[in-house]
Symmetry: C3
């Protein structure tokens, strides 16, 4: 394995193999496997789970990590090609990225969407630019429209919850005061498709996921014996569901238009998911969310504190799947 | 040992045993004892000694640590139960804490007093709420009215200074421009009581330590053959003292009342401890302070730079006692 | 080796020996050499390369590091002797520094020039004050007029580029919107002199390096068979050059005078180094810069992205030379 940028870069068998390694590393600690190996972490955006779990993962395998946060202790990084750097940023990514890469055995990069132009964000051009500057193995810590570490952790969680491979997976939009990126819905949609699930994307009008992402997921679903549908009716969508994966995201009809997005989302402030949404679901239907979640805004306390919630298990699973990713990237395929 | 939250949770023998382990780890390095083990550190408030010494302690024992500072690189954490999270905080402690706990083998939490309501701070309700969300071994890195790592380091320092077990220990208030928490005076008072010392709490009117803390210390003193007194006369209090432990704290008569506290403390701006305070003490009487200390405001240069000062030794001792705590928490009682 | 504060503290042979160790550590990893050893890093100023590469260096050798940034998670540190600490800073360096030193096996300190008074900055008084408070091995991570880690990395880079020992080395001033410190030009000038090179310091009027630094370098050059010249004519200076080492620095004629410096540097905004500067240099003449560099302000894209640029190699070399420094400081001179 040379990099970990998108779950779609791997075959279903390769993913299952990674998950098997994650389970093995949970059972059998390998506290010296990565002795002397160094992971670099570049955070262009905030983080709790990713920041903590990647450091912990290296520590458990006997390696170490360093984290760099431009603008907080380190120089602001300019990303514009050809910029005349006479204002805030002291360093350009064309130097900063290869330099960080040269200090470590693998580099993780977090770079959220700009949220201005949908085509541009879908192209992952900004992330690709950074990635192209580094020649050590790269890990996507969340890019404009991807979050493969989260998706892999979620797959492991679905397995542990014994959710059937062809079970019904509802990816539901929820309200949030701000237009959040498409990274998690995109990554999770693809993961559920690859796993062979019957996926329903549930969202209000104006919040449909971009056709590029839907088409990519449909191809993965077709290959794995699953299917992708869309709905804007919570009750109907959740009927017989095995999982409701809740996530907030920006309006795609008003992408990059702050006022238009705000007006569109304000009409759906009642999309705070609560137990009533599950009226037509079966009792074992689980609630998933990648966290952080705004309680009583996106999801009600009663769900997060109740038996449906699998959110802590999802977050925990970041650790073993990332240990598996690091093990593969830094040890080769042997182990 | 399952957690380290309060020195009062341990018997005198258990404390002596921890101190013996600390001395052993100073003499005989164990650079692989905690290989693959991970300590999480959550700082809701600033730190120098705690941040540096816990990372160093894990490093010396072959393990690793990660530090999370909400609001600086990581999401702001909401602590209010039932909050409708539509403003600043992106994540609730009900998710954030168990998630961090799930990434590590032990978690340290720093959460200062709110400083609004004395009963509430004395109850440690906010710290207990966080602690109740985590199921790995917990370490108190300073809570509303406790700082057991500091207290344990101070006990070790007293032993090294050959201060008699039943010596005279003066815990003295000093001036500070702001109302600082009661955590250190509370923890140190209890430590001196458990050690069997004859303790005098020296403070101006309006700054008496809460009766709950005094009573708890009196019980510990009684069990160990010591005693607790109070005074508001520096000269008399320091007569024949073996140790003057200086600390700034808020007015308890005006707790949570900013204007009242400010007026009360302004009257005692002359409580900047200097050599004259020691006129009736013997020549070997030592000056202790947990640091950070405002020079020439709380304590005069002449003392901090003179032979009485034991403050650097106190700070250094954070390292070996915390190595002992980590060793016990993460290795069991064997070693 | 007891400390690493100035390349001038070492003989040419000692430097060559350190560089040989750096090359050996590149070829033959020693992932347990510094097991259980801890490096403390105190950053009074921002950093990317130093912050990342020192953590990586400890990790590769099996040790660990902690970083403290006063004012960001840790207390602001007062540096003034005798200060009455009644305002922002909660802790004095007279406590903070020895405490940090007591937690680690070696301590690195970054403290930029004040930029107010040239004599004061040249005296390194502020750095010396901090250094005098610590009794573990110290590493200069950039002080007022020194940056020995950068200089050592640059020497290694010159060797790798096969630049002749007595080749022509042009240290050239470049434009920057702000008056940057003299640390890198001072350290690099001395390094090139110690290496025996024929050095030309190229700078506009008003930006001559202080005579103290020039004289120190001249003595080193004389001992190593090199020479030091000055010029304010880019074309002439670069004739037959082997290396153009570009760096921005403050006006020494207007040192500490913000308006005077701004006016002086504004007249030389055309000192943005580009390919035309190399018209009289030979084809193999390399471009060096310590980074971060403001593209198209100090150096043109065409150079940084072209074949002359050695800047990434310079930055990478921080890692192996610092591994060598740490190895020597923490393991003695054996191996």
């Amino acid at each position: 394995m040379r990099q970990f940028l998108d779950l779609a870069d791997f075959s279903r068998e390769q993913v299952l193999d990674l998950l098997a390694l994650a389970r093995r590393l949970e059972r059998e600690p390998q506290p010296t496997a990565l002795a002397g190996r160094v992971l670099g972490l570049l955070f262009m955006n905030p983080s709790l789970r990713t920041l903590a779990s990647f450091q912990a993962a290296m520590g458990r395998l006997g390696g170490s990590a360093f984290a760099i946060t431009p603008g907080s202790g380190s120089w602001q990084l300019e990303t514009q090609h050809g910029a005349i750097m006479d204002s805030g940023a002291a360093e350009h990514v064309r130097e900063g990225l290869p330099v960080l890469g040269s200090y470590c055995d693998a580099l993780g990069i977090r770079l959220f969407a700009e949220g201005k132009d949908l085509e541009s964000d879908l192209s992952e051009q900004r992330f690709r630019t950074l990635a192209g500057l580094v020649d050590v193995p790269l890990i996507n810590l969340e890019s404009a429209v991807n979050h493969p570490c989260q998706a892999l952790a979620d797959w492991k969680t679905l397995d542990e919850l014994a959710v059937p491979a062809h079970g019904k997976f509802v990816l539901s939009w929820a309200y949030h005061p701000r237009p959040l990126p498409l990274a998690v819905p995109a990554a999770v949609l693809h993961m559920a498709a690859m796993r062979g699930m019957r996926v329903t994307v549930l969202r209000p009008e104006g919040f449909a996921l971009p056709s590029e992402l839907m088409d990519k997921a449909r191809r993965a679903a077709a290959a794995a014996g699953g299917a992708i549908e869309e709905s804007c009716e919570p009750h109907a969508a959740l009927a017989d569901a095995d999982v409701a994966y809740v996530k907030e995201w920006s309006s795609t009809a008003h992408y990059g238009d702050a006022a238009g997005d705000a007006a569109a989302r304000a009409r759906h402030a009642d999309w705070c998911v609560n137990e009533q949404w599950f009226a037509a679901a079966h009792g074992g239907c689980r609630l998933m969310h990648c966290l952080p979640v705004r309680r009583n805004v996106a999801v009600a306390d009663e769900l997060l504190d109740g038996p449906r919630a699998a959110v802590l298990r999802q977050a925990y699973n970041r650790l073993p799947v990332q240990m598996a990713i690091l093990h593969r990237l830094l040890q080769g395929t042997t182990q």
